[in-house]
Amino acid sequence: MPIAGEVAIVGWATTEFGVHHERGYLDLLAEAAFGAVEDAGLDLAQVESAWLGTAEPGIVGLVPDAGTAVAEAIGFAPRPVTRVANFCCTGMEAVRAAALDIAAGEHRLVLAIGAEKMRDVSPRGSLVARTANLTHPTVAKGRTAPGQFALLANRYMERWGVARETLARVAVKNHEHATRNPKAHFRRPVSLEEVLAAPLVAEPFGTLDCTPTTDGAAAAVVAPVEWAREHASHYVVIRGFGLAVTGGYYTTFYDPDNDFLGFRSTREAAAVAFGQAGITEPRRQLDLVECHDCFTVTELVNYEDLGLCGRGEGAALLESGATAAGGDIPVNLSGGLQSCGHPVGATGVRMIAEIADHVAGRAGERQVEGARLGAAHTLGGPGVISTVCVVGAPD
């Protein structure tokens, strides 16, 4: 059977995102996994298989490199566990793999876990150092994640006449949202002036245009919708799931078709997910969106690539207030990557959990009243991998 309409999410949990010096990778993984199983009202013994999403096992000594981490952390032996990775889409990929496991009919209760421990080293010793040292000896040298997205920011501002302040307003909006998310890494509002005055990272970005470097984990239990109907106390349904991989990791910025104004991968993944979900007017039909705001400009181009507005209209959509809390299409009510941080493997699972909370009416202070349909989006690679997952209420 297909995933869309047939696979349900019956339990989910997220650890606090932040700098967890007192807790290690396996501690975070265990907290999220047991949390999701408990939320589903299950005993771990009932869960038949698991999928682990971790993008950078090398930061913490390769313990997260394989399914062994799950067996060790939650006592899952001898059940099957596989680690999946697809750059920044890794967390969403764990959920997709678990959903495929259900759709294939192989298992009926499957755990998807995303976990990442990034702060056992300093932020600069984390992905920046790995990007500088472990990547291709010539074509990749000089690249950092902010530096790559800054290329897009400068092109975007030049092409559409967008002010640097508009980018900063993405950070202001998402940090305001995070004041209502007790699990976000940063939970205080920031002013436009603070964003603009923050130390430079890659021009035009300052530190407050960038997702912080963060530890965290999230997990979800997936099951067939028919199982959920009979057994679940609460559940949501996966209405569409798209993954698009549009090019190579190093080669995308050498690609003459790359216009540096958006990401084809997001457009392709959204076409698949929205097609499955019957979404033709995303802004009208979706009640909320969690998208990959790794840097401020990314959220603006995501609006366009996800079809919430036309090309070049992302800045205007932001300025209209439509994507802020209370707007007609609120984006990143969790605070997004800007405030939650981006423990890579955990992010996609966290986003799906956020949409599920709203659809199930459990989002507390952040709740979008009457939300029935939302979309989560991750982008990786940089920009050549995207996943879009549409989550809706049961029929």
Partner: protein, 412 residues
């Protein structure tokens, strides 16, 4: 040592973007190979020549052992079937390289460069294309000398070079040989600028303007002087460390020599920054490298080769396995043009290479894209015309890794 005259076909100078108090100063990522390559590339791209031999002369080679000329051959795209030789003993080796090129016959490219740290030293490169006939000036190698005369040297493993007492250099160095050999109104090139200039003045030579603007360019200095004065007959003497020789240069009729000289003078007259860029700090980089990878991908890294799709004609860098346009697996290697326009850029403050690293995406003339570092001495904006220049990217695993960086285009 009679050598048949050979002919100078063309020549080019490559001088860094910065000059501080009359001395040209290279960026931290420029070395004797990249400076020689810049001069050689300018020459080869202008003449479309395909030399059978390549001679590098420099007293500041990046490698003590193992050679630097093969990297130069790759960067210039003159290999792999080229006879390549490097001369690294003395400042005299610029002229020695001309003599060797003349003796080899055929077409030879001579590149000389210098990135010395001495008091009088400037940084730069010069390239001369030598052929058995048909050039703009005749080259007639003259007397040569080798004697135990330690006026400038560095013992293996010693961190700094040693320099003799100036009075000894005056008595035993180039001034003595110029007199002994009876050179008429010679250009005198030696490592101590003031002593060489005094000798030249006393012997009625034309005067070394170059040393005043760039400092002494080591093995490249004599070649640069030959190019700058090419429209008139010259007798050039170069001597250091007991190795010396002289050459006669005679412009042919037709005005070609004056054109070469004018181009060299234009390269010298280019406006330069007066502050060196902030230093690159390579200490925080410990990049993965692999000797098999470097060899396998030398076309991409050093020859700037892209893949040209046989089916749809698309050009793609780096050379892919499969054409991203049409899926064809038939692609042939093709060197990219170095000129292009900036599509977008940023200045990155977290890449661990010093204070900040400018990065840019370039739409190359001809359809391919390049994405990489901007040279430390420049900034670029969207729409800036640029060219790709060879630079040292890092020293991963103790080897010099060369690649291409983005520099503002020369004003034409």
């Amino acid at each position: 040592m009679p050598v048949e005259p050979a002919f100078l076909v063309d020549g080019a100078l490559a001088l860094p973007a910065t000059a501080v108090r009359g001395r040209t100063v290279a960026d931290d990522d420029e070395d004797a190979v990249t400076l020689a390559a810049e001069a050689g590339l300018a020459l080869l791209e202008r003449t479309r020549a395909r030399p059978q031999a390549l001679v590098l002369a420099t007293t500041t080679p990046p490698y003590d052992e193992g050679g630097s000329v093969q990297a130069l051959a790759e960067l210039l795209g003159v290999g792999p079937d080229v006879f390549a030789l490097e001369l690294t003993a003395s400042l005299r080796d610029g002229l020695a390289a001309l003599r060797v090129a003349a003796a080899l016959g055929g077409t030879a490219l001579v590149c000389a460069s210098h990135r010395g740290r001495g008091r009088d030293d400037g940084h730069g490169g010069a390239a001369v294309l030598v052929a058995a006939d048909g050039g703009v000036a005749a080259l007639r190698p003259g007397p040569a000398r080798a004697e135990e005369l330690r006026d400038r040297y560095r013992l293996a493993g010693a961190p700094e070079r040693s320099e003799a007492d100036p009075s000894f250099v005056w008595d035993a160095g180039a001034p003595r040989l110029a007199r002994e050999w009876g050179l008429e109104a010679p250009s005198v090139v030696g490592p101590a600028a003031r002593i060489a200039a005094r000798a030249e003045r006393e012997l009625g030579g034309p005067g070394d303007e170059l040393a005043g603007e760039t400092g002494v360019l080591g093995a490249a200095h004599a070649l640069a002087r030959i190019l700058l004065g090419l429209e008139r007959p010259q007798r050039v003497l170069a001597a250091a460390s007991g190795l010396a020789e002289a050459i006669e240069v005679e412009p042919a009729s037709g005005g070609g020599a004056a054109e070469v000289a004018a181009r060299a003078r234009a390269a010298l007259a280019k406006e330069r920054r007066t502050e060196p860029p902030p230093p690159l700090d390579w200490s925080a980089l410990d990049p993965y490298t692999s000797a098999p990878r470097s060899w396998r991908e030398r076309g991409q890294d050093l020859r700037l080769e892209a893949g040209r799709c046989a089916a749809c004609g698309r050009i793609v860098f780096p050379h892919p396995q499969t054409c991203p346009g049409c899926g064809s697996r038939e692609l042939s290697a093709e060197r990219l043009p170095r000129a292009g326009t900036v599509l977008t850029q940023t200045r990155d403050h977290v890449y661990p290479l010093g204070r900040s690293t400018a990065m840019a995406v370039v739409e190359l003339d001809g359809g391919a894209r390049f994405y990489g570092q901007v040279v430390p001495s420049a900034s670029v904006a969207i729409g800036t015309r640029v060219r790709l220049v060879p630079r040292r990217l890092h020293n991963g695993a103790g080897a010099a890794q060369y690649f291409w960086k983005i520099a503002p285009a020369e004003a034409s």
